[in-house]
């Protein structure tokens, strides 16, 4: 575990400020130790600092009768997801068995309750509506929505980004990265770009996940050697911000917001440059890579665990497969993309694919459970991991019975191994539960018809 200095960092800009206004400043100042802080105050008791992770897998789970329609003859397995027993200590269902070692909690029966605007124009499509409500607690933004090209965006940040920006989560001491967004499968339903990401910081603001382990590694662990040069880069940003002012004045409406978002991000980049003496003490060896989803998940998980452990961030999203994925699971003998396979009602294949995705999820949880601090608390003990898919299943594009997993202990706030069941229940109770588990005051969550004040009873300690 790397020690982090707990005091506000001295900004190099404090010394160099005024240079760009024309006042000459001598730069031959020996670096002060206080200038070089890793940032992100770390409480003495790590139990106080929860982690939030969002894990997404595509195309739900295999069809079962609760979704309606007549696929019973095709689907021999029945409901392979919903555990038979409700409440604490449930025996895992076949598809939850890979996760059982981590005593995950699950919520079943939930569905989106958001109003679909009229005319519908495809906003009720199970993939898109379900995805949006699962991620944001709100519906798709009606303006600009286009079904044929799958052009869609959110009305508000996805839950991971909401948490990462929330003052009650990071307070006034955010870590080096407010969040990390990772991806594994590179298959996309099509390249129209709006299903390339599960994390959004706002409307039209996707955060494209990093799929390449080397890129992730470099971002987290490549520390420039020349710290004074890094300081000058931070100072340079002041000039760029100044330079943008004349442009800000000329823009209006959304375009002005786009520029301002750019400049806000630039200030965050500058903040990171000023923290920049730091990365973790225990830098892992450079990673390999793999086309196999499970292998790549393991590689990402190892890097992520080091980053979480040393406090580079406390929020992440993990897109195993993108919504409506066309990923071809040829390693399982499946000849066509998963989306097509669901449409064609090939449930044996859907089952093996879903099982495979759950195995990948298990690998991530394994790594989080394995990574412990000196007091023997694991990252998983501190974490709330929200595992979810875009809908219940792909035969009817059914949004009922949305599969939800809540893994981890959230520093003692989450009850583990609990099955909450409420057929027809409001999916946004999950969001309320998560936010309360993370210590964020949440009187209610859910929007545009999905408002709820309730969390999943039995799941919060």
């Amino acid at each position: 575990m790397s020690p982090l200095i707990k005091r506000p960092p001295l900004s190099r800009r404090t010394l160099l400020r005024g240079a760009i206004g024309g006042t000459a400043v001598a730069l031959a100042i020996p670096p002060l130790e206080a200038m070089f802080s890793l940032g992100g105050a770390r409480a003495a008791d790590p139990q106080a600092e929860p982690i939030f992770g969002l894990f997404f897998w595509a195309n739900g789970v295999p069809w079962h009768a609760a979704h309606g329609g007549d696929q019973a003859a095709n689907s021999q397995g029945g409901d392979l997801w919903t555990p038979a027993a409700v409440g604490p200590g449930f025996a895992p269902s076949p598809l939850l068995t890979p996760l059982a070692a981590h005593q995950v909690s699950v919520a079943t029966g939930l569905e989106p309750k958001t109003e679909v605007p009229q005319p519908d124009n495809g906003q009720s499509d199970g993939h898109m509506r379900g995805f949006m409500v699962a991620m944001t607690g709100d519906r798709i933004r009606p303006e600009g929505f286009d079904h044929p090209s799958h052009t869609l965006t959110c009305l508000r940040p996805t839950l991971d980004q909401y948490v990462a920006q929330h003052e009650q989560f990071y307070g006034n001491a955010p870590p080096r990265f407010r969040s990390l967004c990772l991806g594994v499968s590179e298959a996309r339903f099509h390249d129209y770009g709006h299903w390339n990401a599960i994390s959004f910081t706002g409307p039209d603001s996707p955060v494209i996940p990093i799929s390449n382990p080397a890129q992730l590694y470099g971002m987290l662990f490549d520390v420039p050697a020349d710290l004074m040069a890094v300081g000058r880069r931070a100072t340079l940003v002041d000039a760029v911000l100044e330079d943008a002012k004349s442009l800000e004045a000329r823009l209006g409406g959304t375009d002005k917001q786009r520029l301002e978002a750019h400049l806000d991000h630039l200030r965050e980049v500058q903040r990171r440059l000023e923290l920049s003496s730091g990365t973790c003490e225990n830098v892992p060896p450079p990673p390999g890579d793999s086309g196999d989803l499970i292998a790549r998940t393991e590689i990402h998980a190892q890097i992520l665990a080091v980053a979480l452990q040393c406090g580079l961030t406390r929020v992440f999203s993990f897109m195993l497969t993108s919504p409506a994925t066309t990923h071809v699971f040829s390693n399982l003998g499946v000849p066509n993309g998963m989306h097509q396979v669901c449409h064609d009602g090939q449930w044996d294949w859907v089952r093996s694919i879903t099982e495979y995705q759950m195995l990948a999820f298990a690998r991530l949880l394994d790594q989080l459970a394995l990574t412990k601090d000196p007091m023997d608390n694991s990252l998983l003990d501190r974490a709330c991991i929200y595992g979810v898919s875009e809908y219940g299943e792909g035969y009817k594009h059914s949004n009922v019975e949305t599969p939800v997993v809540l893994a981890g202990g959230a520093c003692g706030k989450l009850v583990r191994g609990y099955h909450y069941r409420e057929p027809g229940g409001n999916l946004c109770k999950v969001h309320v539960t998560i936010l309360r588990a993370l210590g964020i005051d949440t009187p209610s969550y859910g929007f545009n018809g999905a408002e709820t004040t309730e969390h999943l009873t039995g799941v919060l300690a």
Partner: protein, 568 residues
């Protein structure tokens, strides 16, 4: 106030839901949708539906421009800019990926908000690239052209002035120049080269470089609207025709005001089109319009498809590129022939795929061929690229092929499936012998029919081509039936479709619409229709040739004027 995506009017808007579910014919997507929310009644082309925000009378004949957009540079545009500013063979660090709503990267660039990681990548790229230049003594001297003796000497000032002009695509204001000279001074740490490196890095991070600022100025000929300034026209011309920044000659033409005249715009456009960069930019447009990027992801089991090799998708891509180049440049002929010509270019593996002789073809040599007159193929909808990207690993997809035709070639929106749709095929047709029989379910079920009646019938026309585009007469052991129809007109197969498309006015009109969207970075609006109609007339008069279309386009008011409205 809710943020909006791009254009005031959502394209797949209020008309199309009811139209689909009523089984009505598909709507023309460049018909501006109504904002009244009244649903699919009335044909918008009669102009009988008023819209809000229309600057003319309802269905008015007067052209009025659309609003300005504010796109950031796409990855390609950024890299082309770096090469132009600093030379070739520089590091190419990762950047925010482009997105392409409504098919084009320029639309994504104009509508998305950049992410924090994207901004970080710009900062790192600027640092890396500027270091690569200024840490290299020979390189930096060649670039700057003089040796700075002091951090703010005339060498520095002169370079930053000319570099800034190229980077911002207009002269720096005195304040801007002072800013960057001051940076060169204050961050030089005693070495003027170091100061220059930081100044260049800063310029490369400025939104004036990273975004295209094209906001217009009052139009002296028409007080109701704006026109793009001369410098803005320089950028608009170069980004459309070169997918990159204006060169010095183009900036000079802006400086003299030539780019405010028809003759000046035309002269520069012709110069740009004659440059090799234009060939590349034109290929990039067609690649997006025709979805050629999807070929990258095409994989097939070679045991099932022995004609499929790891290089075949790339060969298919090259084939279409050669065909586009042939029509646009070598023969300068009717571009609509893309969809009907039997002329194409094949290497040996494509010749094998098509079952034709191609003397002189090798794995790496493409030769021109004319596909057999009595054969099944004519036009790109019967060539490997289209057929393979619109299929699954082991199944064809009449639905995807029909959808592509509707959306990309005819610009007709395919309305979405209703919510709660049963997307699976009924048990009774699970035993269907062919895929076509399975898909018939779409036509039987009224919930599905409205939309699938639009996509599937033309899609069936391609059933003689398997998932890699090879000709077949059997599917799953049963004879293929490739008959179908386009809007009720029965056709026997894809070859007949190619013939039918020759006279279909939707094809040329749609190509123009796609060019419009790509060129402007947004969807067309109601008030621009008269201008688009006029451009189409010119397109027709020129024999539907693509380069004359580009020239007409850049000279037109559609490209040179802009409204004052913003999307607040």
């Amino acid at each position: 106030m809710a943020r909006r995506l791009l254009v005031p009017l959502g394209i797949a808007g209020t008309l199309l839901g009811p139209a689909c579910y009523n089984g009505a014919s598909p709507q023309d997507s460049d018909a501006p949708p109504e904002t009244t929310g009244s649903g699919g009644s009335g044909d918008p082309s009669t102009g009988d539906a008023p819209t809000t925000g229309d600057s003319g009378e309802p269905g008015g004949k007067e052209f009025a421009p659309g609003r300005a957009v504010f796109p950031r540079l796409t990855i390609k545009q950024y890299r082309n800019s770096i090469e132009h500013l600093l030379g070739p063979a520089l590091p190419a660090p990762a950047l925010e990926p482009d997105t392409n709503p409504y098919l084009f990267y320029t639309i994504g660039a104009a509508s998305t908000f950049i992410s924090e990681l994207g901004v970080q990548q710009y900062e790192e790229a600027a640092d890396q690239i500027s270091h690569a230049v200024f840490d290299d003594p020979a390189r930096r001297e060649a670039l700057v052209g003089c040796v700075p003796a002091a951090p703010t000497d005339p060498c520095v000032q002169g370079f930053l002035s000319s570099f800034g002009r190229r980077a911002y695509r207009r002269p720096l204001t005195p304040e801007e120049l002072t800013r960057w000279v001051t940076v060169a001074d204050q961050l030089s740490t005693g070495d003027p080269w170091r100061g220059l490196q930081y100044a260049v890095s800063g310029i490369l991070q400025s939104p004036h470089f990273l975004y295209r600022v094209e906001l217009g100025e009052p139009d002296p000929d028409d007080p109701s609207r704006l026109r793009y300034t001369a410098y803005e026209m320089a950028s608009r011309l170069s980004f459309l025709l070169w997918n990159g920044p204006p060169d010095d000659a183009l900036l000079d033409a802006a400086e003299t005001g030539e780019l405010l005249t028809d003759a000046g715009v035309l002269a520069e456009a012709e110069r740009l089109l004659a440059d090799p960069r234009a060939r590349t930019a034109i290929q990039e447009f067609f690649a997006q319009y025709l979805y050629l990027g999807k070929l990258d992801g095409v994989t097939r089991d070679p045991e099932r498809y022995p004609l499929f090799t790891p290089t075949l998708p790339r060969s298919m891509l090259l084939e279409v590129q050669l065909l586009v180049d042939d029509l646009v440049y070598r023969t300068d002929s009717d571009i609509r022939q893309l969809f009907s010509t039997r002329h194409t270019f094949v290497n040996s593996e494509l010749a094998a795929l098509y079952g034709i002789d191609a003397p002189g073809a090798s794995p790496i040599t493409f030769v021109p061929v004319d596909l057999p007159e009595d054969g099944p193929r004519a036009g790109i909808l019967t060539l490997g690229a289209f057929l393979a990207i619109n299929a699954h690993e082991t199944l064809t997809s009449p639905t995807l092929r029909g959808k592509y035709l509707r959306e990309r070639v005819l610009c007709e929106i395919v309305p979405p499936p209703p919510g709660d749709v049963d997307t699976n095929l009924d048990e009774e047709v699970v035993d269907a012998k062919t895929l076509r029989e399975k898909l018939e379910q779409h036509r039987k079920d009224p919930v599905c029919a409205g939309c699938h009646a639009v996509m599937d019938p033309p899609g069936y026309l391609f059933e003689n081509f398997d998932p890699i585009g090879a000709f077949r007469t059997e599917d799953n052991g049963y004879p293929v039936d490739a008959s179908g129809d386009l809007d009720g007109k029965p056709l026997a197969n894809a070859r007949e479709l190619a013939e039918a498309l020759k006279d279909d006015s939707r094809v040329s009109r749609c190509m123009l619409i796609q060019l419009f969207r790509h060129a402007t970075g947004r969807l067309e609006t109601l008030t621009e229709r008269p201008g688009i109609n006029e451009l189409h007339d010119r397109f027709e008069r020129s024999g539907f040739r693509y380069r004359p279309l580009l020239l007409d386009f850049v000279v037109s008011d559609v490209f040179r004027t802009v409204s004052e409205e913003n999307d607040a």
